[in-house]
């Protein structure tokens, strides 16, 4: 009995340091955001006052917020389709024992090891209008003389950033799918092949992995800030703003820290809803396995 109590005490004591760090770095800022979202704080100094729900009502009058929501949804959809689809194809190819599979695996995984700043800068160079890789390649193929500014045009900026972001995320999706595929013992897979299992049937094996990949993709897309910040900063003229970018611009460029906090609260609620949906799906998958 005594021993049991000691154990519990020890466990609690051991939990205190990580909980303290989590509290200071996550919970406290979260609550300060909630707090400031009800004020008109500008970020400098201590003069601000309580403004009730004004900041949240302002959201409905803000055309930039609406554009940011649309862009965030586009980004999320792209996040579900592009890295997931490409990652699955790559995983299936590598898993089918093509020669040099492990080399390819490393190459495709490499981008995920790079920081977002590096990825962003590489793609800024690729999109550079005069000597960038993309225009150079297009000109080589078509024999034209294109100087198209991919990141400076409102029609292409967001998609150009999404392409760069997907390039990085595909590696992660591929590895998770590979883990899903290789979790099945290879003699069983061989038997399946002999028995004439189709690719479609193999894809069904990776359903649990798909849930993980899609959920991670959607959650990561909400955090899709750093690559965007480096590549366009939400520009040109706010056309590639996502919610996170809009929050940043309002808080730190327009000095509307109160309104920026309100946007962050909305972003938090959206993320929370998605995470709940994700855990419900995970539970279902667990039930299938049991």
């Amino acid at each position: 009995m005594n021993l049991e109590r000691d154990k519990t005490l020890w466990r609690l004591a051991m939990l205190i340091p990580p909980l303290a760090v989590f509290g200071v770095l996550v919970v406290w800022p979260l609550f300060s955001s909630f707090y400031y979202s009800f004020t008109n704080w500008n970020g400098f100094g201590a003069n601000y006052r309580y403004v009730g729900l004004d900041n949240f009502l302002q959201i409905f009058d803000d055309p930039l917020f609406m554009r940011a929501i649309v862009n965030t949804v586009i980004w999320m959809l792209a996040a579900v389709i592009l890295p997931t689809g490409l990652g699955l194809v790559l995983a299936l190819l590598i898993d089918s024992q093509v020669p040099g599979a492990s080399v390819f695996k490393s190459i495709f995984y490499l981008p995920i090891c790079l920081s977002a700043i590096v990825v962003g800068q590489i793609w800024v160079w690729i999109y550079q209008p005069d000597w960038g890789l993309l225009n150079t390649a297009i000109n080589l193929v078509t024999g034209g003389d294109s100087h198209f500014a991919w990141l400076a045009k409102p029609g292409t900026a967001l998609y150009a950033v999404i392409a760069a972001w997907s390039w990085q995320q595909t590696g992660l999706a591929m590895v998770i799918f590979l883990a899903g595929l290789t979790a099945i013992p290879s003699d069983l897979v061989e038997v399946c092949h002999i028995e004439g299992a189709s690719t479609g049937q193999r894809i069904r094996q990776v359903r649990p992995a798909t849930v993980v990949v899609v959920a991670l993709g959607v959650i990561n897309s909400l955090k899709g800030f750093d690559v965007l910040y480096i590549m366009t900063g939400g520009g040109p003229f706010n056309t590639s703003d996502t919610l996170a970018m809009h929050m940043y611009n309002e808080s730190f460029k327009k000095y509307h820290m109160g309104y920026g906090s309100a946007i962050s609260v909305v972003l938090f609620l959206i993320a929370l809803a998605i995470i709940f949906a994700y855990f419900r799906q995970l539970r279902k998958v667990d039930q299938i396995y049991e």
């Binding site: 400098f44 100094g45 201590a46 209008p129 500014a149 409102p154 003229f237 460029k253 509307h256």
Partner: protein, 419 residues
Amino acid sequence: MFKTTRRALMASALASGLLAALPAHEAFAGGEVTISHYFTGDLGLDGLKQIFAEFNKETGITVKDSPIGHEDFKTGILVRAAGGNLPDVFSYWAGARTQFVVNSNSLHPIDDMWKAAGLDAIVANGATLYNGHRYLVPFGYHYAGMFYNKKVMQKAGITEMPKTWDEFKAMCDKLKAAGVAPIALGSKNRWPAQFWFDYLLLRTAGPDYRAKLMAGTASYTDPEVLEAMDLWKQLLDAGDFAKTPNAYDWTDAADQVQRGEAAMTLMGTWITGYWNNNKFTDADYDFFEFPTVKDGVPRAAVGPVDGLVISANAKNAEGAEKLLEFMISKPDVQAKWASIQGALSANVNVDAKSYTPVMQHALDVVKNAQAFAFNYDLATPPPVAEVGLSAFAQFIDNPGDVKSILDQTQAAAAAAFKQ
């Protein structure tokens, strides 16, 4: 043995605790002043380091420096302010930005120091009071002019620089005929485009109207604004600007002029510092004043003033005041800084001969101007400037939308003024 060791340990711990509790400037002679500023790489970090070393020699005060790149500084300093973590001293732009920080009680007033150091007799162009007090010591200012590549102009057969709008347009036509893009603009970071709006509005509606627009008592939908934007649109429609300005930074535009791909760029005098570093010198470039558009409008010169301010809860306000005084009142320090940075000194005692011929010319222009106006993003409050700068970028992308862009701008600016 064990006991004495433990006692010694406790004593030393106590002593170091006491030492740590003492304010830094009492524990060490001179102490330390923390500073953050936006003068990195291209903009003269090395020169500033030398100046801080001289300050240390004279006063014994160490300057602890944390520079941030120019673009990142604008948000970086706000992040530090929001976290209650401002350095003792930071660089800031005189005008609406400083006014904004003063209004939030975040700065330390320097009226006493200003008086004691007799700065009224020394400071040029810096007579700015904020809510009736001194907060900022200017230590350099710039002038925005039309900087051009001499050889390119020669090749196109242009010997005289334009004085009027018509002459200016004729010159652009001549340059195009010679196969050169007349005007380079790098508006990726938006602010470089503002000088066009500033000068076109100042040369048509005049400084008084512009001051009203900047203060929110005139509207972006007024005919005055539309007229200025229309002139800008004519140039864009005529293909006088090098392609896709929004894709390039101001340094790219400077490079285009240096390489002779474009003839000129409307930019601040800091471009001379950038070009000189790139081995493109006085012999290769010059500038002319933005041409007269309407007769009878007072001639204004546009530019920013760089200054230093002290944060309201500076740990070493006394040392900070000393640093500000040192930065402005020594003519030799000022002359050195001005030449490194390609700036004009804010100290009237700096010998004009210490400037390059181009900078002497800039000084004359500013002295002879009937008004000195801060550029757009320093003339109107930051939340409004943010709206306007995006509007200029949108206009450059699609000049045909000018009317709807101005409508949107007015709506957003009015909302920003209200907050």
